[in-house]
Amino acid sequence: MATCTGCSCLCPDIVVQAGVLNACRKGSSIFMHSKDNRAKPMVSGREVDMEVALEKATEMLSSSEKLAIYGMDTIPLEAQEVAIKLAERKEAFIDDNSTFCLGDFVEMVLRGILPSTTLDEAKSNAYVIFYWGTDPFQSLSRHMSLYTYYPRAGKRQRGYEEDRYLVVVDVRRSHTAKLAKKNARFIKVDSDDALVEGFLSTMDGRAGNYYEDTARILKEMQRGRFNVIFGGLGLKYGLKGKYEKFVEMMRKMNELAEVYFIPAGFHANMRGFNELMFEKTGFVNRYSFDTETSRPEYEFSELVRNDAIDTALVIGSDPVNSLPFDVAQKLRKKNLILIDPKLSLTSKIAEVVIPSAITGVDQGGTMVRSDGVRIKIDPLWEAEWSDRKILNELLRGVR
């Protein structure tokens, strides 16, 4: 059986034979298209031998005085470790997507500021399944059927109609929200702060915003005794970077029942990067091995905007597609080394392209699921050049 690395669900039950069984649409495409559009070693837009590309990259890294390493959320821990070592060797900046994704929440969980649990525990015990500012149907398609609302397990043997209570909070009636039918609630919000205040008021015995909804949900949480809130990007941006009230709300909820927080989901191994960095430096992202601290201006986008770097090593990410336009534009003028299994928009502007492997397909390793559980992934076959091997090669040669 194969493990899918399409998202942080890391579904472990994929069967790849003539077709792909059990994976969702996005996950299946990773296996089905694994041989398509693969990157080739390139320097200045021309195809070269792998050794030439590696040499050129090593040269660029060696002459760089202000290097940033970015991406890494789709590669295994074993490769992320080497990238971090490389950043350390060059006293470089290092950052991943979590800075503008759910890094804040992962950090709060790692610091123990938000109580957390595992998806397996949620499957066996959780009564209130609360999706806040996330649409797992689209972003983490099997989340609800494999881990939360629909499976029957442990104390939740009777299925979703009797043993689960679904809550969905969003600014629109998303597909996930449509599933909140009988034993469930959909709360349409414009301001997430207002809902947090609502919960706090109700717990204080005052009728505030969303009184009816919050009163009912809190009652169900007490009834269920074990509950999980999954927070997504909608929550992060909804709270505008101010989490104190939310943390207080979680704390107060835990006086009524066990209420845990799991970041909803992200790239397959984003949490892996956060955990490695946290262990090593005490910070989860946007770090400088020069100043040995983390600052907002060390976010990769900011480094590019402020011309704070001369070279960028991008690993397993496509910033020309996924970063704001002004950053993507500026990247064209930087010395860019790209390590990626596929041709991408960034490969069009990179000085050096080094083709790597796809985790779960032709490279293996360990990845960390959204709930912190480490998943060992065996590939279907082994590519000659894995991310780890490439990064080790660069580390070996860099001055």
Binding site: N37, S139, R173, S322, K342, K348
Partner: protein, 125 residues
């Protein structure tokens, strides 16, 4: 200057979302499928009718001097007031600090939907 630009130019709030069908084809960003599923603006059918946009229409979004042309598609999961688009180079062309929501002005357009390369190799600042 298009005459239509000065009629019904109004501000709209746009939510950026994940879209599984778009995610499926994102491994080939040069492909037509990726373009088709990314260069879209989802409108709730009732809101679209109020605004006077039909499915298949091309609209022009403008923010801070940058313009983008997208195809209108209906979705009943779009916000009741406002619009929705998938996370991609197109949404990132206009996005600000908040990666989930931004406001832009919207107007009907006679032009063609913006291509991926137009943004990748754009020279505007």
């Amino acid at each position: 200057m298009k005459f239509g630009k000065f009629i019904r130019k109004t501000t709209i709030g746009i939510v950026v979302v994940r879209d599984s069908l778009q995610g499926e084809v994102a491994d080939n960003k040069f492909g037509e499928e990726f373009w088709k599923r990314s260069a879209v603006l989802y409108l709730h059918p009732e809101y679209a009718r109020e605004m006077g946009f039909r499915e298949g229409d091309v609209v022009e979004l403008e923010k801070d001097g940058r313009t983008l042309r997208l195809r209108v598609l209906y979705s009943d999961t779009a916000p009741e007031e406002g619009a929705m688009m998938p996370n991609s180079i197109f949404s990132n062309f206009l996005i600000g600090e908040n990666k989930k929501r931004f406001a832009a002005s919207i107007a009907p357009s006679d032009g063609d939907v913006t291509e991926v390369d137009e943004i990748v190799f754009s020279n505007t600042n």
